[in-house]
């Protein structure tokens, strides 16, 4: 007996897929990639979240309560900065005696102090000082845990530090910079470096973020980290039979004005949460890129479906001839796409896991330490990936499925490859123009002030407008394929002769297909050139700004603002002693209280006004030189409604309240170092022990000899870097370029996805032209020439997509910069070299995508193509 199946179409769909695994791969390649990016980004952020959870519970392991000093109100907002960085201000600490007091309370099993501050490992390599840090992570110095209950650090090798000549190093740093027990190492803590012997190597949850740690004997740490007789906080372990809250209240009662007691486990959760929010933001960005990949993917899936179905026209029409209804054909195709989407999304999840592992390894390779920990794939993420993959695939297959169901039963009997019907592109053109006009109106409405939509900011309106323009242009592309390719005609015929002619004609033959294939590339190139122009413009802006506003020959600052305490004052003195230095200005900063809020008060030399461009708004430089004179930034004066002559009361750490008179209001044209300014000479509260944050100086004449001399002086101060104007421009540019490279990296995924689209389209084009190519071969066209023809065709598609995308991207970037003109962005610059580089990359990508179809075309069996028997 014959088998009977209730669902024959389902069976056919399944058999089809089983027979043609390559189809599944081609169709789903873009879905696989898109889902993979979603999954990878999700795994990445989830794993980091869980790693941060572990980190914070590790930091507070075994600790019940943490006693912190109450900071002065206005300093609270800066507590995370804890006296690090260029702004030095006094953090309140807890006197040593309090540890004993807390220890003696009933219910306290143990209490020990913690000291933490800035310490930088230094290595001398070939006479040059190298600051040791893991990526951008900070560098800390701390006291070796003095209590037997402290579980924060675990010795891996050696022993604890016992005297002021010994140090324990964290294992990551030891490994990265090849340090061993008994090695000598120089540590910069405070202003002067000192040499220690490494007696132990230890690991801790603290070090997981990549920060370097120098652990000293307790008293040594207090001395080095400017905490003699004090600790930053006290950790408390509560006896088992006591209530944690009761003990907490007891400790608070000791000195409720100065002590703030927190529950360690709650704090762990809180701190982990705040970091997680940051990670969520990163995850969002990754998801946007995944979205782009999927959006491009949808184009390609639709195209591929069309191709596959066209190739199966005969089979489908046979089914129709045998009595299958249109509806059943429709369902057949949809169920095929369902199978494919499930397999594709599944593969995507697998690839995503691989990608996450690769990214993690990659970051570790570049020493951008994120906390270690297992990779976590949440079921939500997996399901989201699956749903997105399946939905996008099925939606993209609806139109092709509809078209396939319209196949005539007669098609099976006819002996020719069907050519797609030519529908008028006119309606499309009209709709496209209408849509993009709306976008243009929205966009230009902002730029030329004739339309301001409510509830949208100018920038948002431009953004939406640009999006709508993009959609409109996407609709138009099939209609402009022919005119566009027409531009190629002459040039291509001139270069490639008849093959060029054939290739351009082919691209014109199926304008929709050419356009939708090019669109996939267009999306990527739009974003790439947008990023390119914006960053190039920013660079140009930075360059012109730096040239305009930095009048000094040299600027000295911290090499790494995240890790450095500032510039020891000795440097400024040494430089001033040089005869060649004609003018030098120092800048210092501290946090002060004003109206119950923290504000940064800067102290500068008078010369700063010659070395950095400032504009007088009210008052003059002379007025600023008086005792108790206060200089204010223009925007601060506006915000605080302060005018010349106003009295200002500032709370200065360790100094108390002082009254100043507003005497000078000015505009500081670079990134200002502070909001309020006083003259350094007049301010006794900036002690000689303070550190400079920035130095600017001029020399009588720049020369290589002088530069060497200056460099050798600066080299004696680790953590300090000197830059001239070129150096500043270069530094700004490097930061921008780094960002751009990251964006490029993500966007190249979309180009990669577009590659598959080109391959599919060309495969179809080759398939449809079986006879044509066979004929060409028969009358004497070399295989090489056939391949070349396909390559030329592919280059047309990629140039079309790249040119449109680049044009749109540049236009969008221009609009954006115009919109931001009021915020000070005035320079619009296009990097021609990078633009052409990306168009070049697109063409190369197109040629790579054409390799397989080209080989297939050139291997076409001539007889099969021309025979009729």
């Amino acid at each position: 007996m014959f088998g009977f199946t209730k669902r024959p179409l389902f069976l056919i769909a399944w058999k089809n897929l089983k027979t043609y695994p390559v189809r599944i791969f081609l169709t789903t390649s873009s879905i696989i990639l898109g889902v993979a990016v979603i999954i990878a980004s999700n795994i990445f952020s989830e794993s980091n979240k869980s790693a941060f959870d572990n980190l914070f519970s590790g930091i507070y392991e075994g600790i019940d309560l943490v006693v912190q000093p109450v900071q002065e109100d206005f300093a609270q907002g800066f507590s995370g900065d804890g006296g690090q960085g260029p702004i030095s201000f006094e953090v309140k600490k807890i006197p040593d005696e309090k540890i004993k007091e807390i220890q003696d309370l009933p219910g306290v099993r143990a209490a020990w102090g913690e000291v933490i501050g800035f310490a930088q490992f230094i290595k001398i390599v070939d006479g040059e000082t190298v600051l040791l840090s893991n990526g951008f992570a900070p560098t800390f110095g701390t006291a070796w845990d003095s209590s037997e209950y402290a579980k924060q650090w675990t010795l891996l090798e050696g022993r604890a530090p016992l005297n002021k000549k010994e140090v324990v190093m964290d294992t990551v740093t030891a490994e990265n910079f090849e340090f061993d027990i008994d090695d000598k190492v120089t540590v910069l803590a405070g202003a002067t470096p000192a040499t220690f012997t490494i007696v132990g190597i230890a690991d801790s949850a603290f070090a997981a973020g990549g920060a370097t740690f120098a652990l000293f004997e307790f008293r040594t740490a207090q001395q080095l980290l400017d905490s003699t007789g004090e600790v930053n906080l006290i950790n408390v372990v509560v006896e088992d039979n006591f209530d944690v809250t009761d003990v907490k209240n007891e400790i608070t009662d000791i000195d409720s004005e100065n002590l703030n007691v927190i529950n360690a486990q709650e704090a762990a959760a809180e701190q982990a949460d705040s970091i997680k929010q940051g990670l969520d933001f990163f995850n969002t960005i990754l998801n946007v890129f995944a979205g782009i990949a999927i959006f491009v993917g949808a184009f390609i899936i639709q195209n591929t479906f069309r191709i596959l179905l066209l190739q199966r026209t005969k089979e489908l029409s046979l089914l129709r001839a045998l009595g299958t209804s249109k509806r059943q054909i429709y369902r057949l195709v949809i169920s095929e796409s369902l199978f494919m989407s499930i397999i594709g999304s599944g593969l995507g999840i697998g690839l995503g896991i691989g990608l996450a592992v690769a990214v993690k390894e990659g970051l570790q390779y570049f020493e951008l330490g994120l906390p270690d920990g297992p990779l976590v794939l949440t079921s939500e993420a997996a399901i989201t990936g699956l749903i997105i993959g399946i939905t996008v695939t099925i939606l993209s297959s609806l139109l092709p499925a509809r078209k396939a169901s319209q196949v005539s039963p007669m098609e099976a009997i006819r002996d020719s490859v069907s050519t797609p019907r030519r529908k008028s592109l006119f309606t499309r053109l009209v709709i496209g123009i209408a849509v993009s006009s709306i976008g243009f109106i929205m966009l230009f409405g902002v730029l030329y002030d004739f339309l301001d939509l409510p509830t949208l900011s100018g920038l948002q309106q431009v953004g939406f407008g640009a999006g709508i323009v993009f959609v409109g242009i996407s609709i138009i592309t099939p209609s402009i394929t022919k005119p566009f390719v027409f531009l190629f005609d002459r040039i291509y015929i001139l270069i490639f002769g008849i093959l060029g002619k054939l290739a351009t004609e082919n691209s014109k033959r199926t304008p929709r297909r050419t356009a939708s294939t090019a669109s996939a590339l267009m999306i990527g190139l739009t974003l790439i050139s947008l990023a390119n122009v914006i960053t190039t413009s920013f660079k140009a802006q930075a360059e012109s700004l730096i040239g305009e506003v930095i009048l000094a020959d040299y600027q000295v600052g911290a090499a790494n603002v995240f890790a450095s305490p500032g510039i020891p004052t000795g440097l400024a003195n040494e430089l001033m002693e040089l005869d060649e230095v004609t003018k030098l200005s120092r800048t210092r900063a501290t946090v002060v209280g004003y109206n119950e809020r923290p504000l940064i008060l800067g102290a500068v030399d008078e010369t700063v006004f010659d070395l950095v461009k400032t504009d007088d708004i009210a008052g003059t430089r002379k007025d600023f030189l008086k005792q108790n004179a206060l200089g204010i930034l223009k925007q601060t004066a506006e915000r605080e409604e302060l005018q010349i002559g106003d009295e200002v009361l500032l709370t200065i750490p360790e100094e108390g309240q002082l009254t100043f008179t507003v005497s000078y209001i000015f505009d500081w044209t670079t990134q200002p170092p502070a909001e309020f300014f006083v003259l350094l000479e007049n301010s006794s509260f900036f002690s000689e022990e303070s550190l400079d944050t920035e130095l600017y100086f001029n020399v009588n004449e720049k020369s290589d000899v002088l530069e060497e001399k200056i460099n050798s002086i600066v080299a004696e101060y680790p953590g300090v870097e000197i830059r001239d104007e070129e150096g500043l421009v270069e530094e700004a540019n490097n930061q921008i370029q780094l960002l751009l490279n990251v964006i490029y990296g993500f966007l190249s995924i979309s180009i990669f996805v577009a590659l598959f689209g080109i391959t599919n389209t060309l495969s179809l084009s080759v398939y449809e032209r079986t006879r044509e190519i066979g004929l060409m071969r028969a009358i004497g066209t070399y295989r090489k020439q056939i391949r070349r023809m396909i390559f030329i065709e592919s280059s047309i598609i990629s140039i079309f997509g790249a040119a449109l995308g680049t044009g749109l991207g540049i236009f969008f970037a221009w609009s954006l910069i115009q919109t931001l003109a009021d915020d000070g962005f005035t320079v619009f610059a296009v990097s021609i070299s990078q633009t052409f580089m990306w168009i070049g990359i697109s063409i190369i990508a197109g040629v790579i995508a054409a390799i397989l179809p080209a080989i297939r075309a050139s291997r076409q069996n001539i007889l099969e193509a021309i025979s009729y028997e």
Binding site: E772, I862, Y868
Partner: protein, 242 residues
């Protein structure tokens, strides 16, 4: 008349051992300059295979094919392609023209892919002979079937080939177009000194040829000089019934 193309012990076997089919069985045949030969035979007689092998579109399993004394059966794909391009012309049953090129571009296509300037005087003469001078800027889909085949014929002639191979050239045409095309082909041989080898199953088409070769089961059954249509029909009938 001198020999242009000659096949010695030509054998073509399709498939592997048990399932193999012998399409050509040790054929020896020669074609002379300025001769219009029709190859006939029932379906499966091997007539198309013979044409394909002679024209360098297919490779014989064994035997030699000499083009003006040079063996072309052993050439590689590139050399063979060059011979097809420079020494042969082709007219197929259908789909002779590249749809995206105009009639003129189709005619000069072999010269174009060779990177040569076509001999314009000659092309003009050919175009006038096939009577399509007023259709040169048209694309194939704007031409009738007969016109398309005449453009194909003009293309086959355009490079002044040694031999023109025609595979059922009138197979898809109505009787009027068919007669026009065949008359033209005959005049090309007689007036422009071309050599044509044509495969057909149609005795009427074959009657335009000066020589008719009958194949059966991969062997030459008969070789007739200047037969009339009646003689051809009689021979075909005899072969079919044999």
């Amino acid at each position: 008349m001198s020999k242009i193309i000659e096949a010695n012990n030509l054998t073509k076997i399709y498939g592997e051992k048990e399932t193999s089919v012998t399409a050509l069985d040790d054929i020896n045949i020669e074609f002379r300059e300025n001769e219009f030969t029709a190859i006939m035979g029932p379906s499966g007689s091997g007539k198309s295979t013979l044409l394909h092998c002679l024209a360098g579109l297919d490779r014989p399993s064994s035997g030699k094919i000499f083009l003006k004394g040079n063996d072309i059966a052993t050439l590689n794909d590139k050399e063979l392609t060059k011979i097809r391009r420079d020494s042969f012309g082709f007219i197929f049953q259908a789909f002779n023209l590249i749809p995206t090129l105009t009639a003129e571009e189709n005619i000069t296509l072999p010269a174009s892919i060779a990177g040569r300037q076509p001999d314009l005087e000659w092309v003009k003469e050919v175009v006038e002979t096939v009577d399509i001078a007023d259709r040169l800027t048209h694309r194939p889909n704007e031409l009738s079937g007969g016109q398309q085949q005449r453009v194909a014929a003009a293309r086959a002639m355009a490079t002044k080939p040694e031999v023109i191979f025609a595979d059922e050239p009138s197979g898809n045409l109505d009787s009027k177009s068919s007669r026009e095309l065949l008359t033209f082909m005959k005049s090309v041989v007689e007036e422009l000194n071309q050599t044509i080898v044509m495969v057909t199953h149609d005795p009427y088409a074959a009657s335009f040829a000066g020589r008719v070769v009958m194949l059966k089961d991969g062997r030459i059954a008969s070789d007739l000089e200047k037969p009339t249509q009646e003689e051809i029909v009689a021979e075909v009938t005899a072969l079919t019934n044999a």
